[in-house]
Every structure is written in structure tokens, then in C-alpha cells.
Symmetry: D2
Subunit: 199 residues, 4 copies
């Protein structure tokens, strides 16, 4: 009855702000907002991370969960676990944050590749059936994001889900990168030789 | 089956940005966001009016309508029709704006009194059945407002409506006023003697 | 010894927030920041008026004075004295504000014409000798404005003044107008026939 | 003739964005703005670092120099040279940035201790004679900072300098730390035993 694709499971190496590992399977039944970021991406730090924290604080609904995903595809030596722990502490982030796992030789991590994300920040919405309903690369407007979350929560209350995914992002699996104030982008091709073998 | 109160009809003396008079009855079937403001209220001009305009531009959904309502309860001589027309022109507002009618001797206009609004800015949401589902006095967060609009639009898509009104505003019918950066408030009592006889 | 032009005297019909009429001549010896605005100009209301108020509150220096100047060149019927009084009250402006006088048949008022301002908002700096040292049309950056004010105050402390005027604005004396979010502009030509005879 | 204290020389381990090492002695004759920060301090990243970059871009005056100083007193493992290099690259910082050197066993670096800074962000102004004229801990208003810079530049133009230092910050030499959205603070006492022996 529904035509949205199932959301690939998260491939997370380590969780922060969570007593035990989390998974989409275990969160089935909830609307999930995934905020994919890098701690040294200006568009993330200045806009998207504070937005995710505000939403996590405002939406006190047992049917809703904010998850962070640290999808490091550049400057790996500067964004390791100790650095991320310090970042989470200093920016007072309280929602669960998973470290996207690097598998194979690709510079982009596994979950980022599975969702074909273009870069950071990226925002994803998953419905209670575990289907990816929307994802967007770059800065997302508060009102627009609220409207999408509200629609999914209302659908969940009616026990149904008939809407197709709206994908505004077409992503390469890996590549080089470049950042501006708004976002960091994976550039297909620049790293294509090294990346090609890993997929 | 539903327990929300019907939204009182608008009592509008004149419309701007609309070729013909509008009414809630004629808009039945749509989700309506009413933005009640005064053109000289700082919280309206600096926050709520730009928010309403952004929403009117972003939400291109035939099932959704933004309406402005100029609810003047103070400085009447400074916010007449010519002043409002200049304000709408200069701030490039494109959504329909009605002038709330003054009936009787009360300083607060008729629609404002019927909804018992506390002051300006106030934001109201009406569902497709014509029921008042939410209203708030003061600055409203973009994400929160988006979530409420999204929920009503999703409900409309399912053809049902079972939620009760959530009223965060308790309002006096008329009174004096005081403004700060966030809002202008009707103060019960200051005008109570003159107001009492008019209702 | 100095080559800056003397600042033309203000032609003000009425003062708000001042017990008695003010003049540049009477303020000689102080650095004066003049903020020329219209109460229905979006760039003024959203940026320049709050900036002027912040500066008036922050700079507690007896050698410095902020003056507002209501230079109405459009929508005259909507920006009369009662409207301005309400605006000043609601936006809690505390610095002296003069109403630029309309003399002759020109839609632009006298002081605005004498300074050849392009539109609103405009910001002007006058040194203790009464010389116009800088004027700018449109939004002005806080840091840049602070730097200019600091330079004039330091010069005043040294009792000298040798810098030439830096004029970034070339203005027509009168004309039509158009506003955007940043500013309202006098358009030369639109009113040129009626304006020509008045000067 | 002047009563301001001489500014202690910078103790910098490594420079970024500069072909050769810099020093206050070598910059004598210029007004210097020093922006002391940590790359994982929210108040720095969200406010003070962008402010320093804006100023470096705006003030094109050969008598003025912006310097960054990376004064790491916490999370040392997360803010090493590779991390700082990535941060400078991603945030597109163009002004010279020195790494404050850790000497002895104190968690606070040498220049930070010499200036008795309370934490990050801190902003310092040094006049052309090499005297510390002002320093402030926490967020600094753009207009206020511009005014101080303008005053020093004007003084420099007059070849004199008679003003006393205005110190709004009272600092401990070392200690523990705590961050909020505005700033990270060194807490005297927490590290006092270990710190005492190092000086």
C-alpha cells in the first residue's frame, strides 16, 4: 500500500548520550528526525546543530525521536571520538548521537553512503513504519521542518502512511568535499579512484 | 464527535489584498492561519508580520490560507485605512488582510472581542470544519507553528478531526493596553467602565 | 584649516522627546549622529531605528548626541504627528526626534533636501565644529558606525579636526520613491515637474 | 606621560595564516586587536570568531591588525594543530592565528596567563606604543568594539596616547573551566594546587 523505500539501518560505531546502542528497528513506531553533521562543518555548527537541539528540547512527544549522526568524510584526524565528546559537552547537546562507521577504504562513512547523502548538514525524516519520507541537504527552514514533522506525527496518530518520499537531494556515494557557510559537500570524482574500489 | 468550539465569524469592515470580501464560512474546507496584528505594535512588525508573510509565500497548498486581521485597540487615529494601506504597500504584504470592525463603544474591535484575544500579535489556527484549534498570544516559534499547521493539514487529508482546542491564551474582552518588544496587551479594568456597557 | 562643508541647520517643525527645540548651532561642541527615517520604511523600522536607539542607550558621553529626523517624503497622510507620537511611544524611543518641515510644494522635506539625502534610512555624522563628516544611505554596519563615532570622539578630545568629508551618497533633491527591505529611495524625475518650481 | 601597562609579548608556538612568526614588538606602530579563542568554545564559534573575521575583512587600514590567539585551556586532545588547521580551513579564517604555548604544567597557556585572561572568548586592544588599552571577556558588541578601535586609530593619527587602560576583566591565572553559550571561563581554585607550582 505504501511506496516509500525502507530506511537503511544505521551503521554506528559508538553512541553518545545514550546508555545503550540504538537502531531504527528498535525505534519502529516513532517518527525519527536524523540530523547528520560534522562537528567542524560551519553550516552544521552555526545552524543545523542548534536547530536539532532546539527541536529535541521542544518536542516532548513519546512518538518522536531526534538522533544525531556524526558523518565524518573529511579531516578525520580532527573529528575523532575525543573531539566529538568535547564538542557535545561544550555545545550542551542532549540528544543521542551516533558515530557513523567507516567501513572499507571510502572516506565517507557507511550510513552516509547507504543514504547517498550529498554532504553535511543533512536532515532526514523517517516515519513509524521505518520508511524514509524526506531528506534535505543544507540549511532547512524551521517552519518547513516543523510542518513535515507535524504531518508525520498526525499520520502516525491515524495509524496510516500513504505519502511518497520527497527527495530533494541527489547524492553521490563518496568523493571530495568543499564547505561554505551553509554546508559541506561531497564532490563526486575527486576521490573517485580510491572510492571506486570500496563499493 | 468533535469537541472543539466553532470559530466565530470574522467581523471585517474592509479587506486589503482581496478582490472580494472573505469569510470563514466561504473558506470552510481549508486550514486557516489568522494573524491578528496592529501596524504599530513592535512585536508584530519585527516578528509576527514577517513570519506570516514568509508562511504565506512558502505554503503553496490549496488547502491552506493565511489571513491577516488588523485588530486596532489603541492609537486608532494613527492606524486608519490610509496608514494600513501604506504599511501593506511598504512591507510588501501579499496575503488578504481584513480590518476588524469597531462596533459599539469598545476600544477593542468586534472579532478581537469575539475571540477574547489578549492583545497583538495573536496567531489562530482554524481547521477545515471551521473549528478553532489553537490560538497563542505573543511571539510564536517557527518550528512550533509549522508543526501545528502540518498536523492540521495531515488531519484534513484524512478527512477527520478529533483533537480538542489547545488554548494557551486567556483573554479579557477589552481594556487598556501596554506594549513591549514582544507584544501589546489589552489590560482588563483600565477601560472596564466604558467597555462594560458596550457588550 | 578644515575643508569639510558646514552641516546645514535642521529645519524642524516640531520636536518629540525634547523639552525645547534643538539645533545644530546649540549642540556645537558635540559629535552628533543624525538618524533620518520614516516610520513606515521597513529598513528603518527593522534595522536603523533599533540601531539608533541602542546607540543612544550605550554611548553615555556628554560629547555625543543622537538625533532622530522624521523625513517624510511619501504616504504623508499616514505619517502625521499623531502617528509618529504613537510610533515613538510603542517602540520606546528615548532620543530627541524632530519632524523635518515641508516648505514649498516639494514632497521631500526641507532638511532632507538641504542634505540631498537619497532616501531613508540615512545616517549622518557631524563633528564638534558643525561640519558634516560622513553620511550614508541604507543599512549601516554596527562596527563601521562605531568606528566612525569613535574616531570623531577621539578627534574632539584632541581639539582638532582635519579630516575631509566622506560622502558615499549622491542625492537628488526630490522625486518619487520606492522601498525595499533595506531602504526607501527618492526617485529623481517622477516628481520633477512639481518639484522643480519649489526650489 | 602614559600610564597604561605595556602589553606582554605573545608566547606563540606556531602561526597559521602567516608566512613568518609575528610579535607585538614587530607590529609596534599599529593598533592590534587580539581575539583569544578556543575552537570548541560555543561563544567563540557562534559569535566572536565570525566577528573577528568580519573586522579583518572590513578594516583595510595599514595601521590596524587583527590577530587570533588559540588559548586552549581544556580539551587539549581535541584542539591540537590538525584540528585547528581544519577549523581555520572550514571557517575560512584569513587573519593570522597563533597557538598560545603551554609552558610548565599549567592547563592554561603562557600568553593567556600573562594577560590574566578569565577565559574565552576574550578581546584585547593594543595601541601603537604597545600598551594594552582594553580587554574584555565574553561577547562584545559590534558598535562598542568599533568605537574603541576608531578611538585608537584616531589617537594614532595624532601621534599621541594619553588614555588609561580600561579593564573590565579580572582574571585568575589558571584554574578549572566551564562553558555556556556565551563563553568558557577559567575557574580559579579547581586546578590551583597543580597550577601554583608552575608559575
Amino acid at each position: 500500500m505504501t511506496h516509500s523505500p525502507p530506511a537503511p539501518e544505521l551503521v554506528v560505531r559508538r553512541w553518545f548520550n545514550s546508555a545503550q546502542p540504538l537502531s531504527l528497528a528498535a525505534l519502529r513506531g516513532k517518527v525519527i528526525l536524523i540530523h547528520a553533521f560534522q562537528m567542524l562543518c560551519p553550516g552544521c555548527v552555526l545552524h543545523a546543530v542548534p536547530q536539532a537541539q532546539r527541536i529535541a528540547e521542544r518536542v516532548r512527544d513519546p512518538g518522536f525521536q531526534v538522533l544525531g549522526l556524526h558523518t565524518v568524510f573529511e579531516h578525520h584526524e580532527a573529528m575523532g571520538d575525543a573531539a566529538l565528546a568535547a564538542f557535545i559537552h561544550e555545545f550542551r547537546l542532549t540528544f543521542p548521537i551516533g558515530v557513523d562507521a567507516h567501513t572499507g577504504s571510502d572516506s565517507a562513512p557507511a550510513t552516509m553512503r547507504a543514504y547517498r547523502l550529498r554532504g553535511t548538514p543533512s536532515t532526514l525524516l523517517i516515519d513509524p513504519r521505518g520508511q524514509l519520507r524526506w531528506h534535505e541537504f543544507g540549511a532547512v527552514d524551521d517552519f518547513d521542518l516543523g510542518r513535515r514533522v507535524g504531518q508525520l506525527l498526525a499520520e502516525a496518530a491515524f495509524g496510516e502512511d500513504r505519502r511518497p518520499v520527497q527527495s530533494s537531494a541527489q547524492a553521490s556515494e563518496a568523493g571530495g568535499e568543499v564547505c561554505d557557510e551553509v554546508a559541506c559537500v561531497l564532490q563526486p570524482g575527486r576521490h573517485s579512484e580510491q572510492g571506486a574500489g570500496s563499493r
